[in-house]
C-alpha cells in the first residue's frame, strides 16, 4: 500500500550515518554516474522526474535550477535549507542524523547541475545532534575525496529564528545579517547569497537526487501523481497512536497516513481536524481527509502540502486554543520587517488570547478574518500568508467553537 521506502530505507541500521554503511547500500554510485553526465542532462532528468521542493513551497526543482543564468562568470552557490522549524515538521532532522551522506551526494549532483563549487548547509541551531552527525559525515566525505575536489560544503548553524528557513531570510542570515527576507526581484537564482546566483533546496529534496540519477526520472515520476513524482516523508504528530516520520508515495491519502501508518487517533479516538502540511497549512475537518498528499491534491482541497508536517487533533482539542498557540508562534517569529506581518501577527494573537480567556467580543472573529485577508500578499515574504492559513481556516471551519466562547 505504501510502496517502496527510498529515503528511509536504511533508517533501521544503527550505523546508517557512516560512510561505510552508505557505500554498502550503493552510496555515491549515483555521483559516479552523474559525473559522466552533462550538467544540463542532470537538470533535464530532474525536470522529467517531477521532483518538487519538499521544504514547503513545492516548486519544481529542475525548473528552479534552470533559472541560474547560463555562462555565469563567478561563483554559483548551492544552499541547503536545513532550518527546519515549522511546528509539526521534523523530517529533515532524521535525514541529517541517519542519512547525512545522502544529503552530501545529492549536493554533489545538484552542484554539478548548476555548476556550483561551494555548498552551504544551513542547519537549525537547535538541531545539535543532526549538526554533529552531518558535520562528521562532511569530514568523512572530505577524507574519502568526495568533497574538496571541486566542491566544498560549509556547515552553518542558525541562531534560532523560524524566518531563517525562508529562502531569502536564510540567505541574509548566512551572509551574517539579521535574518530578514529580501525584496524580490532580484530572485536568489539571479542574485542570492553574497550577491551570487544561488539555489536553495530543502534537505529532503536533495536526498532524492541520487535515486533519480541511479534509477531514472521515469521510475521516480511513476511513484507519485501526474504532477509530482516520488515519495516524501511525513512527520505525524498530535493525537495519533504512533507519531513519527513515515515515508510513502505523494499519492497516499491523508486518511491512509493517519489510520494505516500512524495507527489511528488517540485521545477520545474521534478525529476532529488535521493540519496536513506544517502549522501554516489550512486546517481540514475530519470529513475532508480523503485527499492525496501531493502538492496539487492538497492545494485543490484548499490547503497545502507544505512540509508534510501532519498535526492530528481529536475531539477533545479546543480549536480556539489551538489557534491561539499557532497565533502566538507567528507573533513571536515574525521578523518585524514588514508592517502588516509585524503588526497583525501580534494583534491577532492578542485577540485569540482574549477569546480563549473568555473576554472575546462577537466582532473579534470577523476582525481576525478581515485583517488576515487584507494582509495577504502585502509583504516581502510568505510568512504572513502562511500565518493567515490557520487564522482563516480555524475560524471558518470551526466558527461555532469560537462563537461559543465569545457569547459567554
Amino acid at each position: 500500500m505504501t510502496g517502496e521506502r527510498i529515503l528511509t530505507r536504511n533508517f533501521h541500521r544503527a550505523d546508517a550515518h557512516t560512510l561505510a554503511a552508505y557505500r554498502e547500500t550503493g552510496g555515491y554510485t549515483a555521483w559516479e554516474k552523474a559525473q559522466t553526465m552533462e550538467p544540463t542532462a542532470i537538470t533535464e532528468e530532474v525536470k522529467k522526474s517531477n521532483l518538487r521542493g519538499l521544504g514547503g513551497a513545492g516548486f519544481p526543482t529542475g525548473m528552479k535550477w534552470s533559472f541560474i543564468p547560463k555562462n555565469h562568470a563567478g561563483p554559483v552557490y548551492l544552499v541547503i535549507n536545513a532550518d527546519e522549524a515549522e511546528p509539526g515538521t521534523f523530517k529533515d532532522r532524521y535525514l541529517l542524523e541517519r542519512e547525512p551522506h545522502a544529503v552530501i551526494e545529492g549536493m554533489l549532483i545538484a552542484a554539478r547541475a548548476i555548476r556550483s563549487s561551494v555548498g552551504f548547509v544551513y542547519i537549525r541551531g537547535e538541531y545539535v545532534e543532526p549538526w554533529r552527525r552531518f558535520s562528521a559525515a562532511v569530514r568523512e566525505a572530505s577524507e574519502a575525496g568526495y568533497l574538496g575536489g571541486g566542491f566544498d560544503v560549509v556547515v552553518h548553524r542558525g541562531a534560532g529564528a523560524y524566518i531563517c528557513g525562508e529562502e531569502t531570510g536564510l540567505i541574509s542570515s548566512l551572509e551574517g545579517r539579521k535574518g530578514w527576507p529580501k525584496l524580490k526581484p532580484p530572485f536568489p537564482a539571479i542574485k542570492g547569497a553574497f550577491g551570487a546566483p544561488t539555489i536553495v533546496n530543502n534537505v529532503e529534496t536533495i536526498c532524492h537526487l541520487p535515486h533519480i540519477i541511479n534509477r531514472g526520472a521515469g521510475w521516480f515520476a511513476s511513484l507519485g501523481t501526474k504532477t509530482q513524482g516520488g515519495t516524501r516523508m511525513y512527520s505525524v504528530s498530535g493525537r495519533v497512536k504512533r507519531p513519527g516520520v513515515y515515508e510513502a508515495s505523494v499519492a497516499l491519502t491523508l486518511r491512509q497516513l493517519i489510520y494505516d501508518l500512524a495507527g489511528g487517533v488517540t485521545g477520545n479516538g474521534r478525529l476532529k481536524a488535521v493540519v496536513p502540511g506544517g502549522s501554516s497549512a489550512a486546517i481540514l475537518r475530519a470529513d475532508e481527509i480523503d485527499v492525496t498528499l501531493d502538492v496539487d491534491g492538497l492545494k485543490n482541497a484548499g490547503t497545502m502540502a507544505g512540509s508534510a508536517g501532519v498535526i492530528v487533533m481529536d475531539e477533545t482539542v479546543s480549536i480556539p486554543e489551538a489557534l491561539m498557540v499557532v497565533a502566538r508562534f507567528y507573533a513571536h517569529e515574525s521578523c518585524g520587517q514588514c508592517t502588516p506581518c509585524r503588526e497583525c501577527t501580534g494583534w491577532i494573537y492578542k485577540i485569540t488570547e482574549r477569546i480563549v480567556e473568555g473576554r472575546g467580543r462577537k466582532e473579534d472573529l470577523d476582525t481576525v478574518l478581515d485583517v488576515a485577508r487584507r494582509g495577504v500578499g502585502t509583504t516581502i515574504c510568505a510568512f504572513y500568508d502562511g500565518a493567515v492559513g490557520p487564522y482563516i481556516s480555524y475560524i471558518e471551519k470551526f466558527r461555532d467553537e469560537f462563537e461559543a466562547l465569545v457569547t459567554k
Binding site: 518585524g336 520587517q337 514588514c338 509585524r342 467580543r361 487584507r374 502585502t378
Partner: protein, 535 residues
C-alpha cells in the same frame, strides 16, 4: 528611455527610475514611509502600493522599476483599500500621544491618516510598550513606541555615514530601533535622522518642546558653516516670541540641492546658529574712549569711520576682510577701498585649530565665501598687513568679523599690531577680544538677518534670504559700507543687497551676466553665463 502610463498620463523617465519617482514627476503622490530617494530601497512599510496592469495584486512602487509600456494606476479601489489597511496596521501599536509629541504638524502618520486612512479603529487591546525618551547621542532622542520601523535612520547610518550605530532589535511587534551595545549616535551627521524620520520617533534634543512647528516661518538660506554652502531652510519663531526663551532661530533644516548637499547637512552646520541670538551680539555702534565703549548713533559712527579713512593716508590704511562676508559686502568694500585708493587688503586668517574635512560634505575651510573673496579680488597677505601695523607703517586698520587674538598666530604679536595702529575699526555681528580693542565697533547683521550670496568652494553662487530682522541696530555689511561710501562723497542708491550684486556682475568677469533671478534657489556656477564667457 522607458515610456509608461500612470493614471492615464504618459511619461518618459530615465532607465532605472522607480514608480514613486516616475509618479512624482507627473505630480502624482504615492504615499510612503520607508522609501527615501537618498537611501537604498527597503520595501518594508508596504504603503506605496500601486496597481500594475496584469499584476494579480497591488505591488510596491518603490521596488518596481519603470519599464516600457507599463500601465500603472495609483487610484484604483483596490489600491485605496490596501493603503487604508496598511495605514490601520501602522497605527495599531502607535501611541496616540499626538498632543505631546513634538512631531505634531510634521507627522506623516497624521497626514496619511487624513488623506488615506480615515477608518474607525478596531484595535481594543493593550498596545505594545517600548522605551520612551531615550537619548541616542548628543543631538537625537528616541521614542521607540512612536517608531514605525521604516529603518530610514538605520540605513542612513549604514549607507550615508557608514558608521552603523543603529540597528533594529528583537522581532515581530516587539521590534525596536536602538544603538548597538557601547555605541552612541554621535556621527557628524546625526541630526539628519531626525529629518528623515517620518514620525515622532526621533526628535531633535535642541529643538524639541521649543515651539510648535505651525508657529514657524521658513526662509531659504545657505549654511555659513563651511565652504560647501549646504542649502538650508532657516526656521524662525516670530509669531511666538515668548517661546524658547525668545530664541528667534528655532532650527536649521537641510534643503535639497542635488549638486551641493542632496538631502543632508552636518551637525556642526545644523547647530551652528547659536551666535545669532547669543549675548555677545552687538546691538549698536560703539565708540571707545579711554577703554570705555560708548553706544553711539549710526550717523556718528559712519562719520567717524569715514573721517578716519579720509584722515589717514591711503598707504597707511589696512583692511582685513572676512570670507564670512557675502559677495555683496565684499564688493561694496572693494568700492570703498577703490574710492580711497587703499590697497592693503587681505581676508585669509589662519584658524587656531585646523578644520576637519570628510568625503561627504564637510570642508576644512570653515568660511562660506572664500571663493567669492578671491574672485572679487580681496586676496592679500594678512600677516604682512599685521607686520606693517606692528612696524607702525599702518595707522588705520579695519577688521571684519575676525577675532585675530584667537587665530593661528602668536597672540602677543597680534596684540602688538592691534595696539600700534591709531584707528582700529571692527565690524561684525558678535563682540570678541579683538573688537574689544577697536575704537569704532560696527554691529553687522547676522546672515539670517539679511540677504546676499555666497560663492562656495566649487564656484557655485547661492542666495540666502532674510529670515528675521537684524538684532538691535545691526545692519548688513553692504549697507554699512554703502553709508561709508556716501560719507566719502559717492552716494549709492543701494537699498537692497541686489544692487551690489548687479554692480558685482557688471564689474567682475566671473559673475558677468548673473542675476538673483538666474541664481534662483539652487545656485549658479561662476563663469557659466554667456557674458562671463565673453569677458
Amino acid at each position: 528611455m522607458p515610456k509608461l502610463t500612470i493614471d492615464g498620463k504618459e511619461i518618459e523617465v530615465a532607465p532605472g527610475t522607480n514608480l514613486i519617482e516616475a509618479a512624482r514627476a507627473l505630480g502624482i503622490e504615492v504615499p510612503h514611509y520607508c522609501y527615501h530617494p537618498g537611501l537604498s530601497v527597503a520595501g518594508q512599510c508596504r504603503l506605496c502600493m500601486v496597481d500594475i496592469e496584469k499584476a494579480p495584486r497591488p505591488t510596491i512602487a518603490c521596488n518596481t522599476v519603470a519599464s516600457d509600456g507599463m500601465v500603472v494606476s495609483t487610484q484604483t479601489e483596490r489600491v485605496l483599500e490596501t493603503r487604508k489597511s496598511i495605514m490601520e496596521f501602522h497605527l495599531i501599536n502607535h501611541p496616540l500621544d499626538c498632543p505631546v509629541c513634538d512631531q505634531a504638524g510634521e507627522c506623516w502618520l497624521q497626514i496619511y491618516y487624513m488623506k488615506h486612512g480615515l477608518y474607525d479603529p478596531r484595535m481594543v487591546d493593550e498596545k505594545v510598550h517600548k522605551p520612551k525618551a531615550v537619548p541616542l547621542g548628543p543631538h537625537v532622542i528616541l521614542d521607540a513606541e512612536r517608531c514605525i520601523l521604516c529603518s530610514r535612520c538605520v540605513r542612513f547610518c549604514d549607507e550615508v555615514t557608514a558608521t552603523g550605530e543603529l540597528g533594529i532589535f528583537d522581532r515581530g511587534d516587539r521590534s525596536e530601533i536602538g544603538l548597538f551595545p557601547g555605541r552612541e549616535l554621535e556621527n557628524k551627521y546625526s541630526g539628519n535622522v531626525v529629518d528623515i524620520c517620518p514620525v515622532g520617533a526621533l526628535t531633535d534634543r535642541d529643538f524639541r518642546f521649543q515651539v510648535r512647528v505651525w508657529y514657524l516661518d521658513a526662509a531659504k538660506s545657505i549654511c555659513p558653516g563651511c565652504a560647501r554652502g549646504c542649502n538650508i531652510e532657516v526656521h524662525v519663531n516670530r509669531r511666538r516670541p515668548h517661546h524658547a526663551q525668545g530664541r528667534r532661530v528655532a532650527r536649521l533644516k537641510p534643503r535639497f540641492n542635488a549638486a551641493v548637499n542632496k538631502w543632508w547637512i552636518c551637525d556642526d552646520g545644523r547647530y551652528g546658529f547659536g551666535f545669532v541670538d547669543d549675548p555677545s551680539r552687538l546691538r549698536s555702534p560703539l565708540r571707545r574712549e579711554g577703554g570705555q565703549p560708548l553706544p553711539v548713533a549710526w550717523d556718528e559712527a559712519i562719520a567717524g569711520v569715514a573721517g578716519a579713512l579720509t584722515r589717514h593716508p591711503p598707504a597707511e590704511i589696512g583692511v582685513i576682510a572676512s570670507p564670512k562676508m557675502a559677495n555683496e559686502d565684499l564688493f561694496a568694500l572693494r568700492r570703498v577701498l577703490e574710492r580711497r585708493g587703499a590697497a592693503q587688503v587681505a581676508f585669509v586668517v589662519p584658524p587656531r585649530v585646523p578644520g576637519d574635512e570628510d568625503k561627504l560634505l564637510i570642508r576644512a575651510d570653515k568660511n562660506p565665501n572664500t571663493r567669492g573673496a578671491e574672485l572679487i579680488g580681496l586676496g592679500g597677505d594678512t600677516a604682512a598687513i599685521l607686520a606693517a601695523a606692528r612696524a607702525r607703517r599702518l595707522s588705520c586698520l579695519w577688521i571684519f568679523d575676525h577675532d585675530l587674538l584667537d587665530a593661528g598666530w602668536p597672540e602677543a604679536e597680534t596684540r602688538a599690531a592691534l595696539g600700534a595702529v591709531e584707528t582700529l575699526i571692527w565690524s561684525g555681528p558678535n563682540a570678541n577680544a579683538t573688537s574689544a580693542l577697536a575704537r569704532w565697533v560696527l554691529p553687522a547683521a547676522a546672515w539670517v538677518e539679511r540677504e546676499g550670496t555666497f560663492t562656495n568652494f566649487e564656484g557655485r553662487v547661492q542666495r540666502f534670504r532674510t529670515a528675521v530682522d537684524p538684532l538691535g541696530e545691526a545692519l548688513p555689511d553692504w549697507e554699512i559700507l554703502g553709508r561709508v561710501l556716501t560719507a566719502l562723497g559717492e552716494p549709492t542708491p543701494a537699498a537692497r543687497a541686489e544692487h551690489w550684486f548687479r554692480e558685482l556682475a557688471r564689474s567682475v568677469p566671473a559673475f558677468a551676466g548673473m542675476t538673483y533671478q538666474s541664481i534662483g534657489d539652487t545656485g549658479q556656477m561662476v563663469g557659466t553665463t554667456r557674458e562671463a564667457a565673453r569677458a
